[in-house]
């Protein structure tokens, strides 16, 4: 009885934001205060419901629910295993922080009536993607999420935003069509699309290879992997900062998550080890890591710099998925968590700078630490974590990734990661160093924390919470995300025997 209520949770989690969107739209016609409140409430309730699934996941139970009558003959289905739960938890938490941040940030922006409903809509879509029990459901929500994200990208409606948005839209449609091809081929080959086993495709064939290439390209576009990342550096900076935080912090990961499912649940480790189909992905990831970091150094626009950095960081995650080692996968999954929090925090800080001072460029940010020490402090913490300084979260994920690379006997990949860490430091530390030690004419000496100069509290709290999480979850290494990542990696590697 109780279990039957709980097995509905993934459905409610997906449905609540979707229904909430309608409510928000209706309410905002009357009052923006209620609208703001409702947005946060929907987000928070979703968080609570995700958390409510934890006891079951911790006990090793799966939550499943199928609706064969919707979109037959395949029907929609939901299935929550450890990795799905972890993804949902990351999405729900970061989303809540961003929703709260948006309330203050968006005050001066226009088209707010569009922003909040879509913010909530995409939350529902992305939760649907990660909680999907089969590839078909996954695809339905993925498409939904991708198309709705377009609205966040073009929020500002400037010509460059429209241009970036159009690029995003075209690439997204191409990506979805590729995924469609992949999924339909898998269905043709396997007769099923479930995501519960360690591989549903029995033997390699031309169609299987074609579908695999389609999946790599389709998810590669979403995840922003070289050479499919071209939409990303345009689209992420033009969105409002909270939206960039979501796009870079979460929605990219959904692409990586899809790829992870394809590798471990659809094709299976055995098949991919035998066929070496993942080798090109390893190289694509390596190029993404190096290129993303390199180009990030050259950017003066802070948000563009962060966007390129995301290309590099997504490379880590894809690399961890593609080398087929349990510890590398562990690292990749944990990096999904840590990068989501780090990058969201960084984008929110960039937004806070722009919101308070109107400065978007790194060269303008000298001495910003005099005015906004807490904000810049959070940026510094996230930067240290990005570079991989112990004991922060980024360090833990890089450690696991590197150990995983060594496990499969590829030390040169560790070198790539170290090189990229160095470059991460080159593009992130100057912001922090110049910010704290650069000259600011009005404040020759550090004046202490002055609240009138500091970011609005509603924006500061989410930033500090996200940055704090990077520290807290890393200092207690057996904390929830860390152990869950390990758990998920083990689960994906030992499907069936678990």
């Amino acid at each position: 009885m109780f279990h039957s209520v709980v097995s509905w949770l993934p459905v409610w989690i997906t449905l609540l934001p979707l229904v909430g969107t309608g409510l928000i739209y209706v309410v905002e016609q009357r009052s923006w205060k209620w609208r703001n409140g409702l947005t946060v409430i929907v987000s928070a309730l979703t968080c609570v419901m995700v958390a409510a699934m934890y006891p079951y996941i911790a006990r090793g139970q799966l939550l499943t629910k199928a609706f064969p009558d919707i979109l037959p003959p395949l029907g929609l289905s939901f299935r929550v295993d450890p990795i799905a739960f972890l993804m949902a938890a990351i999405i729900a938490l970061v989303w809540l922080a961003v929703a709260i941040y948006s309330l203050a940030y968006m005050v001066r922006e226009h088209h707010k009536k569009r922003y909040y409903p879509f913010l909530t809509l995409i939350l529902g879509g992305s939760l649907g993607v990660v909680l999907a029990g089969d590839l078909f459901t996954f695809f339905v929500f993925f498409e939904f999420m991708s198309l709705a994200s377009y609205v966040l990208i073009i929020q500002e409606q400037t010509p460059e935003a429209m241009k970036a948005g159009y690029k995003y839209l075209i690439m997204t449609i191409c990506g979805s069509l590729l995924l469609f091809f992949g999924i339909i081929s898998v269905f043709e080959l396997a007769g099923t699309l479930t995501l519960g086993t360690g591989g549903i495709i029995g033997a390699p064939s031309n169609l299987a290879l074609g579908a695999f290439i389609a999946f790599v390209l389709g998810f590669g576009i979403k995840a922003g992997i070289f050479p499919l990342h071209v939409w990303l550096p345009d689209a992420h900076p033009v969105a409002p900062s909270p939206a960039s935080a979501l796009l870079s912090g979460l929605l990219l990961k959904v692409g990586a998550y899809g790829f992870l499912r394809i590798v471990y649940n659809v094709y299976g480790i055995e098949l991919l080890r035998r066929t070496h189909w993942l080798e090109p992905v390893v190289y694509m990831a390596v190029i993404s890591i190096l290129l993303g970091s390199c180009v990030a150094i050259l950017q003066d626009d802070l948000k563009r710099r962060l966007a390129y950095s995301s290309v590099g960081q997504m490379g880590y995650i894809m690399l961890g998925i593609a080398v087929l080692s349990e510890r590398a996968l562990f690292g990749a999954i944990f990096h999904i968590f840590s990068h989501a929090f780090m990058k969201a925090a960084l984008f929110l800080v960039a937004g806070a700078f722009a919101h308070k001072t109107g400065k978007r460029y790194v060269s303008q940010l000298e001495g910003i630490g005099m005015r906004m020490p807490l904000t810049l402090g959070a940026f510094g913490l996230a930067s240290l974590s990005m570079v991989g300084i112990p004991p922060l979260a980024g360090y833990l994920s890089k450690w696991q990734l590197s150990v995983g690379m060594l496990d499969v006997g590829r030390p040169w990949l560790v070198v790539v990661m170290l090189l990229s860490s160095l470059m991460n430091a080159v593009y992130l530390f100057p912001v922090v160093i110049n910010g704290f030690f650069g000259a600011d004419d009005s404040y020759p000496e550090f004046p202490g924390i002055r609240w009138e100069n500091e970011t609005d509290v509603k924006m500061l709290v989410p930033i500090l919470v996200l940055a704090g999480a990077i520290l807290v979850f890393a200092i207690y290494p057996n904390s929830l995300p860390f152990s869950l990542s390990g758990f998920s990696a083990r689960y994906l590697f030992q499907l069936g025997g678990w």
């Binding site: 009558d69 919707i70 979109l71 037959p72 003959p73 695809f139 339905v140 498409e143 939904f144 198309l147 073009i154 409606q157 429209m162 948005g165 159009y166 839209l169 075209i170 449609i173 191409c174 979805s176 069509l177 590729l178 469609f180 091809f181 339909i184 081929s185 269905f187 043709e188 169609l207 074609g210």
Partner: protein, 484 residues
């Protein structure tokens, strides 16, 4: 055996057609009740037939009580039943729209005649779907073509007259070809009833193979012209875009589909699948379907006139359906049948929506729809739903048919056609999305006033959008009726 409900729509539509101009002349306010009540009656009776087909299998009716080979047979299988219900429901919604819109688009004096033509067109389309007799079919095809020309020409301007004239000429060519095919088949089989002709066809092929193949060729040519199979589509863009909005909706949504359904029926009943394997008919359909899909999509990309754009998109979608027919695997055929239904609903809805948008914007140029979505959110949302359905985004209708068509292509071991369908989807995204983007996120010039259309226009538009969503989410009944 004799199910009288199968011919109710024919009788009722015809009667209403002849009554419409008279009623319009003498008691103008009686037109709406007449048209709507008769169409509603047809909806109910086709619905009843659908239920009976689902329960008991195909239904028949012998005209005048004479069984074949003497009498004319009406035969409603599951595909015809679905076609019939689609036809009557789409017609009902379009007619509601027409009852408001015709007074603005047409001169008052021709409105009565316009409705007469529509009702006769509906009667003949329905009978084409259910006809099981070759000569009877020819007569009805001719009637359909003539009335279809009529509802374009009724607008009376130069463009519409020219387009309908071209349609008439090409349609006459098509009718001639179909008549030749019917005559040849009658010559070698001795029957006009499709099922009986089908029984004789195997011996006929052995004795007169060339005659049978010539009949097949003529049939493909004639039906190809009428159904706008590439490259015989040349009449379509003008014909479908120059008439009144409601005429475009009926032409693009229903008329072309009716010919495909009847071609399909002749394939099934007369020629049989074995014969189609013997000649490269399949390959021809596949090649032309591919070309039509790609050419239609590419040409639609270049259009600025929204109605022409939708018309070219119809050429592409006809290509989809012929692809499904050409692939011939059960799932591809199911996809083709589904796409006939879905495209009828989506395209009719899109044409009606486009008509409403064009009326508000004062032009059919898509560049002038910028910002329209902020003023007419409901109308543009309906357009968005239709467009997403056409692109094949889940969970909207077009996705389901695309799913089956592509699965069918894989079943046939021809992934190339999956590629064709996906490229066409991408192209359709490329021509629909810019319209939506500029409508929702563009700037509306403040000096123009704009408000949602009249409820009699908005209602059908929204119902079409709703149908696009619901049939996409719950295609279960359709699938079970089609036997998949």
């Amino acid at each position: 055996m004799n199910n009288v409900f199968t011919i109710v729509p024919i009788v009722v539509f015809l009667a209403a057609g002849y009554a419409a101009p008279i009623v319009y002349r003498w008691y103008r306010r009686g037109l709406a009740p007449l048209v709507l009540a008769s169409t509603a009656m047809c909806v109910v009776s086709t619905l009843w037939v659908v239920l009976q087909v689902a329960r008991e299998g195909p239904q028949r009716y012998f005209m005048g009580g004479w069984p074949p080979p003497w009498g004319i047979e009406i035969w409603v299988d599951s595909r015809a039943a679905l076609g019939g219900i689609t036809l009557t429901v789409v017609a009902l919604l379009v007619l509601v729209y027409a009852l408001k819109d015709s007074y603005t688009e047409l001169q008052d004096s021709v409105v009565g005649r316009y409705f007469a033509l529509i009702m006769i067109l509906l009667a003949s389309m329905y009978s084409v779907i259910v006809a099981a007799d070759l000569f009877n079919l020819f007569v009805l095809v001719e009637l359909t073509s003539l009335t279809a020309c009529g509802i374009i020409a009724v607008k009376g301007d130069k463009l519409a007259t020219e387009a309908s004239f071209r349609y008439l000429i090409l349609g006459a060519l098509g009718s001639g070809a179909i008549l030749m095919a019917v005559a040849l088949l009658y010559m070698v089989t001795g029957h006009l009833n499709m099922a009986l002709a089908g029984e004789e066809i195997t011996t006929a092929v052995l004795n007169y193979p060339r005659v049978v193949y010539a009949a097949l060729g003529f049939l493909l040519l004639g039906m190809g012209i009428k159904a706008a199979l590439f490259p015989l589509h040349l009449w379509l863009p003008d014909a479908h875009s120059s008439g009144p909005t409601t005429a475009s909706a009926l032409l693009s949504g229903l008329v072309v589909k009716v010919f495909i359904l009847s071609l399909w029926r002749i394939f099934d009943l007369v020629f049989g699948m074995g014969l189609l394997e013997a000649v490269p008919a399949r390959q021809l359909l596949l090649a032309l379907g591919t070309l039509g899909t790609l050419a239609g999509s590419l040409l639609a990309l270049g259009q600025r006139d929204i109605k022409r754009l939708l018309a070219y998109s119809t050429v592409a979608n006809i290509g989809y359906i012929f692809l499904g027919l050409g692939l011939g695997t059960p799932r591809a055929l199911a996809g083709a049948a589904l796409h006939i239904i879905y495209h009828a609903i989506m395209k009719s809805g899109l044409f009606l929506t486009a008509g409403a948008m064009a009326q508000v914007a004062g032009t059919r140029d898509v560049h002038n729809f910028s910002g329209l979505g902020q003023r007419l959110p409901l109308t543009l949302a309906a357009f968005g739903v239709g467009a997403l359905g056409m692109v094949g985004i889940p969970p909207f209708s077009g996705f389901v048919s695309k799913w089956y068509l592509t699965l069918g292509a894989l079943d046939a071991g021809q992934p190339f056609y999956v590629l064709v369908i996906l490229v066409a989807s991408l192209l359709s995204g490329l021509y629909y999305f810019p319209i939506l983007i500029s409508a929702f996120f563009g700037e509306w010039s403040e000096d123009k006033s704009a408000q949602e259309p009249h409820p009699m226009l908005l209602g059908p538009i929204l119902l079409f959008a709703l149908a696009t969503v619901l049939l996409g989410l719950f295609p279960g009944p359709l699938l079970s009726l089609l036997g998949i």
